[in-house]
Amino acid sequence: MARPFPLRLFAGPAEQRTAQERTEEIDLLRRSQAGDQDAFGRIVEKHWKRAFWTAYDVLYDHDHAQDVAQEAFVKVHRALQSYDLGRDFASWLYRIVLNLAIDHKRRRDRDRSIPTDKVEEVMDARKVMAEDEEKAATIERVEVILAGLPEKYRIPLTLKDIDGLSVEEVAEVLDVSYSTIRWRLHKARALFRERWRRLLQREERNDNP
């Protein structure tokens, strides 16, 4: 079915990177496949931030996110020999990180009968990570709202609107259809927008009683 408003097909990281960056990445991957540890170290440094925050957006726990991101890179290293250099590395990495994070979360939720208060975890993590107080406060509020969204809406939303993947890439990473992702994204954005609006209204009322 033709879309009445054609979407720009590729707004994700693969398109945003220049051809030179892509060539450099392939070179690093090829060297890593040949056993060059320095080249692999550069790949880790380049993708660590996104891997970490992707895991964090599922787990809302700084230490667990670090464990998962670390495990993801070990897994990537193990699978490098069979990695097809024609594939987009970032999408592959996202898929590994997300699968590990979701598995980790399920195990953690099983082991923990009473879930830790996500809001407090978010705030603790922000205290550690924040560089700018005002920005950190906004990030805290956004994460509190995101943490309250169902996972099936939250993950597509963070991958698309924060990490900058295209809808096609999100569908590939999560292994669901394009139309399902479009629907979940629509639902997630609507939920987030509504909760964000209510939060701002509540804060305004508290500031001006």
Binding site: F5, P6, L7, G41, V44, F52, W53, V142, H186, R189
Partner: protein, 190 residues
């Protein structure tokens, strides 16, 4: 245009996911419907809030930990058997135990066969002619007595056994009564 459809398109508009024609169409729609502008502001505020997460701090890269984990994995992963499940291990151990048991049994059997001494010729049992005139108390309950021969008459043990086997074919019950140098053979007729 339905509101949910419009919201979805406004999100795409703000995110920069619409191409030129679609963007112009949305802008024309907003001109025709000024109330859409408020919705656009709300969508943009939510989008901008989400974008702040892109500015999250750079977490420290634990590269030495990752390299150590990779090295540890490389060391651990040499034997393929490490990757096998507990179930597979159990069956492998069971197969090894069965093989060991078979080898020990076969070895003992072969050893016994090879080390067994040559068996000497069996001497004829001390059989003699049964005296039907003086049957023992036990023998009297039987219907008849049969004399099968005596070693004193030069009959070999094999011959005595052959005769005994012949008697077994006809007898319903066959009883051998031991005695001093005398083994009377008693049978009960069918």
């Amino acid at each position: 245009m339905r509101r949910s459809r419009l919201e979805s398109l406004l999100h795409d508009y703000v995110a920069g996911d619409l191409d030129g024609d679609a963007r112009r169409e949305i802008e024309l729609h907003m001109e025709r419907e000024p109330s859409t502008r408020a919705l656009l502001d709300e969508v943009r505020a939510a989008h901008d809030a989400l974008q702040t997460l892109r500015e999250r701090a750079e977490p420290p890269v634990p590269l030495p930990h990752i390299q150590a984990a990779i090295a540890a994995h490389r060391f651990d992963s040499k034997p393929v058997l490490h990757l096998r499940s507990e179930g597979t291990r159990f069956y492998r151990r069971l197969a090894m135990a069965a093989t060991l048991l078979f080898a020990v049994t076969a070895g003992l059997f072969t050893y016994n066969r090879l080390s067994r001494p040559e068996s000497p010729p069996r001497p004829a049992p001390p059989l003699t002619v049964f005296d039907p005139d003086r049957p023992s108390a036990e023998d009297r309950g039987l219907e008849r007595f049969v004399e099968i021969g005596s070693s004193r008459d030069g009959i070999t043990a094999e011959e005595l056994i052959r005769r005994l086997e012949e008697l077994k074919k006809d007898a319903r019950e066959l009883r051998v009564t031991p005695g001093y140098n005398v083994v009377p053979i008693a049978i009960e007729s069918r």
